[in-house]
Every structure is written in C-alpha cells, then in structure tokens.
Amino acid sequence: MFACFYVPDFPVQACLLPEPAEIRRGLSQSPLAVLDGPDNLQRVFAANAAARNAGIQIGMTKLQVETYGGILLRKRSIAIEEFAQGTLADFAGTFSPRVESTCPGAVVADLAGMEKLLGPWKSAIWAMTAKAADAGFDLRIALAANPDTAFHAARGFSTSTIIPAGEEARRLAPLPVSTLPASPEMLDILESWGIPTFQSFAALPTIAIVERLGQQGLYLQQLARGEINRPLLTVEPNAEFVECFEFDDPVETLESLIFILNRLLQQLCANLIAASLATNELRLAVQLEVRQIQNGHKEEEEHKHDWKLPVPTQDKNLLLGLIRLHLEKTTFSAPIRKLTVEVIPIKPRVAQGNLFSPPSPEPERLEITLERIRGVVGISDKDGTACVGSPLLVDSHKPDSFTVEHFSSVVSLPDNCGTAPISALRVFRPALETSVELDGKKPQVVWLWHRHRRVLASSGPWSSSGHWWNSSAWAREEWDVLLQISPGVGLYRIYYDRIRRQWFVEGVFD
C-alpha cells in the first residue's frame, strides 16, 4: 500500500511554516495570498480557500488584490518552499523508510509491511493527519495500491481517501482529466473530444488512443485507469546538514538573529537525531546587506566562523550558546541579510561512565565555559598563541618554548606520571632588558627594578644556542644570580643574548 501526503495550497502553507503554532493557526483561517514576480509587477501565485472565497484569483496583480481589503499578502520564497518540502519528506519518513518527493507539496511513502505498526488504515490516516497538524501542515492523505493512483486521489479528492486494490479505475472515475500530468495541448485535444473525466478517458479504445495521441496518450490513459505500478524514486538521506534563512528586511538586533538561529539549529539537530548522527563541527556564515568601504579597503561582505567541538553533540542549546557568545562580541559593519548554519555530521560518541574516573568538566558545557573565558581574556596574544587552553611544550632546546592547545576534558592519565617538588621559575614575559656589570666574566651588579643590585652569588655561564641555520637563530649564556633585594635576597635567572648583545632577566625562582 502507498500513501500520498498532499498539501493543498502548498506555497501558502509553506510561507506560514516558520511562524509559531498559535500565529500559524490564526493566519491559516484568514484570507492569504502569496505574490511572486518582479517587485514592480507582482502577481498572485497562490491563495488559500478563504482568499479564493473572497474573490482572489491566481494571476491577479498586487494592486487588484489590495482593492479587496483584508487580504494578507506574503512574498513567495523558494528557500522556504524547499525547507517545507524537506520537512514534509521528513514527516513522511517517520512512517516509512521509503519516501518519494513527487512534486512540491506532495510526497509518496511505501507503507508495505507497516500494517501492524500503524493499525487499521482508517485510524492510521486519522493519526497521520493529527501529527501533520502538529508539524504545521493541513494534509490530504490517500492510500492506494500504486503510487500514481494515491497521488491522483490525494490531489483530486477534497478529503482523505482509501482505494482498495482492483478498484482504482472505478474510484478515480469522477476526477477531471486536468488532474493528469498532461501538456496543455493534450488537454485541449481531450476537451475538444468531449472527454471531461478519468472515466470517459479510460473507456476509449486503447489502439485508437495510441494512433491519435501516441505513447504519451497511452500512458495517460493507464494513469486514468490506475494501472501503472512503478517503483518509488526514494529520497536519499541528505548528506549535507545546512540550514539558511534570508531576511525580508535586514536585521540589526541580536534578539532577531537568535530567534531565527534557534529555529535553524532546532531543525539541524532534529535532522541529526533522525539520522542517528551528531556533530563536532559547526559553521556559521553571516551575509551582510552592503559592502562598505573604510580607509580605502573593502570590507568582507560575508562573516564566517567555525567551531570545533572535542566531542560530538546533538544538543541545540550548546550550539546556540556558542553562536550567541560569538555574536555578542562581534560587531558587524552592516545589517545582516542572510544566515547560513552548517553542521558536519559524524557518528555520535558511545561512552560509558566510569565510576573510578575523576570528576571532570562536562564536555558539552566546557565549550561554553571556554568561550566565555575567551570573551573575558581574549583569544590570542600578539604572537598568535592562544590565551586559553592546555600548555604543550614544543620540541626545542629554546627556553620558554610552548604552545597552548585546545583544552579538553576527554584525556586519560598516563601510567608513568610521577611528581617531585622542585623550585619553580616565575617567568617574565617578555624578558626584562637589563644591564650587568661584570667582574672578569662573572656578573657583579645587575640593574633591576630601577636600582643596582649587588650579586651575592652566581652560577654559570650555561651556554645554549639553536636555529643557527635560519633567521630565528638564538644563542645565550644563562646565569643564576642571588641578588640583594630589600628585604632579603632573590634568586634570579639572567641571560646574555649573544645575537642581540643584550642582557635580560628571564625570571625569578619563587
């Protein structure tokens, strides 16, 4: 058995889909028309039943519609219609894994083997219609033994229909031939013959039809008899998880953006969950209204930002929190016209909690925490080293060589991790320039904190060098010196940079 889910006045229902449920219910009862075409000559592309009852016809100009008064007007959006068609296919996918996106506003699902799951067909239709209303669609559903019969029944009849196998021709008989997917020329020929319905078209002799209308005519007659049984062209699961939204009027406030981002992320996470996937990479693209020129340089029209998460997630709130924190500290040069959000799908994390593992920051929540901290201290210093993260030593003999990596709470302790208390060095970054008086080769007096400090004891010199083969060469002579500091003494590390020919204080042992 095949089920066709048909959305009457699809462009009208599609443009109401992004609205909240309460507003959508109210608007669906009001006369509403969808306009399409260039701005200076917009015409009615679709209208709901209330608008048609009020006298609105397809093809009317905007000016003509406005003379009626009380008609709500919306501009057609292809992106929203595509989104609605995807949502409709996803909805059908909750009843069957084999779904065909037949045409805009109609999908056909193969319900073979689903009888026990869905129950009697009559109650199944009722349940499907109720679920569709929750999803934002006012549907007509038809069940038939082949996809085309189900499609024509859903499209042609005003109520939901069940057509048992073998009764296709009889049940489709009253439908007008204009329901068939025929060319306008073919429909004109049928009209000139006085063929108004499926029944009269199906009753014509087959050979005579082929002689006069060719194979196309034969195909249409078989459709009218409900005899064509073709395989479904099933919708392949979308490998890309991208949602975008284009504003009618560019927006400047964060609240408006967050409202739309919340909906986009909700849809993306729902798609991820439906596909049993998660994401560890989030991409945001913000398209601005105009390209501005400042200081003779053109600014980018598009702002992009990527997030890489340490663990896969399906949590909408986490993703929304990351975007919100980023947008709060970003200033755009122009109003925002379009938002695109993409998540890169990967398999979800399968991890079992360990009673003996140490308490650790929740990986999902940790990302928000790190983003907040970056908002306070900044992202990186002037050398490009991150300000927040885990320190990682660089494989180099050069002192104070390190990078800062992304901090993750998913790490395990190595077995050979021993500790031994040692005297620690407190580093001055950058190192303090100083001058040193020498007694022979040993430092005698060091200029520090605006005073000359006498060296009580010294240890050195300890020479090291590296990278002499390229431009980042370094060579130094280190001394550990005990300086007379009021009050008490201080053990400092000083070094002589042999390339810059300058003394520096690197740090203090503390």
Binding site: P358, P359, S360, P361, E362, R365, L366, I368, T369, R372, I373, V376, V377, G378, I379, S380, D381, K382, C387, V388, G389, S390, P391, L392, L393, P399, D400, S401, F402, V404, S408, V411, L413, C417, G418, T419, A420, P421, I422, S423, A424, L425, R426, V427, F428, R429, A457, S459, G460, D480, L482, P487, G488, V489, G490, L491, G507, V508, F509, D510
Partner: protein, 232 residues
C-alpha cells in the same frame, strides 16, 4: 538573671542563636611537600586558601606548582595566571600533567579589561562551571596596592560558592586579603639557597600557617623545608 539562664531562655526561642558556624571538612588535596602536608593535612576542598609570600623568591610558586602536580593526577585543574608568569617547562618537570591543566593567561590580548578584573571574572566563570578539582588564581605578580582594593564582598562570595563544590580555590598573593573568608592561609618565606660548587642545588624555605581550617586564628605553626632545583 544569670547569664547561663539567660542563654537557656534565648536558646529555647532561637535554637541556633549560639551555634558556632563550622565549615564542613570533606577531604583535601596534598601539596606534595611532606612538611606542609604534615602541618595542615593538605589544601582543603570546599574552602578558599591563600598562599602568600613576598614578591621575590619566597617559594609560593613552588608550592603552587607542587600542588598542581599532585592535583592533576586525579583531578582537572585550572590556573588563572593574572600576569602570565607560569613556566610550562618547569610545571612538567614538577610532574603537572599538562593536558589536565586549563591555563588562562590574562592581560595578553587586546582586551581593555585590567588583568586583575580578568582574573576575578574568569575565576567566577570557572566556579560556576563545575568539574574542576582545583582552581588556582595567581595574583602575586600584580602590585599589592591593586590587589588590596578588591572588596571583601568578592572574597566572601567566592568562599560561599566554593563551599558547595568539591573543589579547592587557591589564591597566590603577596599578602593575604580574604581575611575570615579564607579557610587556610599559608605564608611562605625564603632563606638563602644552597650552592654545590658552582651550581644552585636547593632552595631553602620556611612556611607559617597564618590561619587554619577553623574560623578563628590558630596558633602560628612554622616549619622549614628545602626544594631541589630542576637540574640538581
């Protein structure tokens, strides 16, 4: 009326009127320095601790590094470095498991906020995101006159927040500032280092407990210890 009778009468109406407030003592983190651990039994969880010392060679950083090394074995740690003075090489040599250390370097980017405010804001964020077993805030490189201006209400708020968490909050400063908000105050002082020939081999330090786990000030306890240098 006798004071004891008066007290009994009041306690009948207000049972908690004369109850002494005591912090809950649930575990501690060893510092890894035996002499300190023997005296204070480690750095307390659920409490604010101050490790103080003069601005040169007092040994406070060595105590911090040793504490981080011990804590990173079975906890995730955070170091809020107000003056970006932590040496990762020294930390690794002391045994800190660096992947478990979140290092926040304040005052290094173009953000206009002063380093002290950055450090306090970050500490606040970390306190509200549970999961870290040790949060250390190093303020010792900042001028004393700046740290002294931190209002007491900030210390009080930190002490009340950390009380509910299974974590230790440690401040490294030149002088103690949290007063009664601190559960433990350690003061570290330096003595002349030991040389072995031409080589500095050990730093000699003294430690004093300025405030114990109890609310009221305790009898000052002192102990001396030595730490070897990285190359000794």
């Amino acid at each position: 009326m006798l004071p004891s009778l008066l007290r009994t009468e009041i306690e009948k109406k207000l049972p908690c009127a004369f109850q002494v407030y005591r912090r809950s003592l649930h575990g501690s983190i060893r510092t890894g320095i035996a002499q300190i651990d023997d005296v204070v039994q480690g750095i307390p969880l659920h409490a604010l601790t101050e490790i103080c010392g003069g601005n040169v060679s007092s040994g406070k950083t060595s105590v911090l590094i040793s504490l981080l090394a011990q804590a990173s074995r079975d906890r995730f740690c955070a170091l809020v470095d107000a003056a970006d003075s932590f040496d990762p090489g020294c930390g690794q040599a002391a045994g800190i498991y660096l992947p478990r250390l979140l290092w926040v370097r304040c005052g290094k980017s173009k953000v206009k906020l002063p380093p002290l405010e950055q450090a306090f804001k970050v500490a606040d964020i970390l306190l509200h995101s549970s999961g870290f077993g040790l949060i250390a805030v190093d303020l010792s490189s900042l001028p004393e006159r700046v740290v002294r201006k931190v209002p007491l209400s900030s210390w009080f708020r930190f002490s009340r927040v950390i009380e509910k968490q299974s974590a230790a909050l440690v401040f490294i400063e030149q002088e103690p500032h949290a007063t009664s908000c601190a559960g433990l105050v350690l003061r570290v002082m330096a003595e002349p280092p030991g040389f072995s020939g031409n080589l500095v081999t050990q730093c000699n330090l003294k430690m004093e407990v300025a405030r114990g786990w109890e609310k009221k000030p305790v009898r000052s306890e002192r102990t001396g210890f030595s730490l070897q240098t990285q190359w000794a």
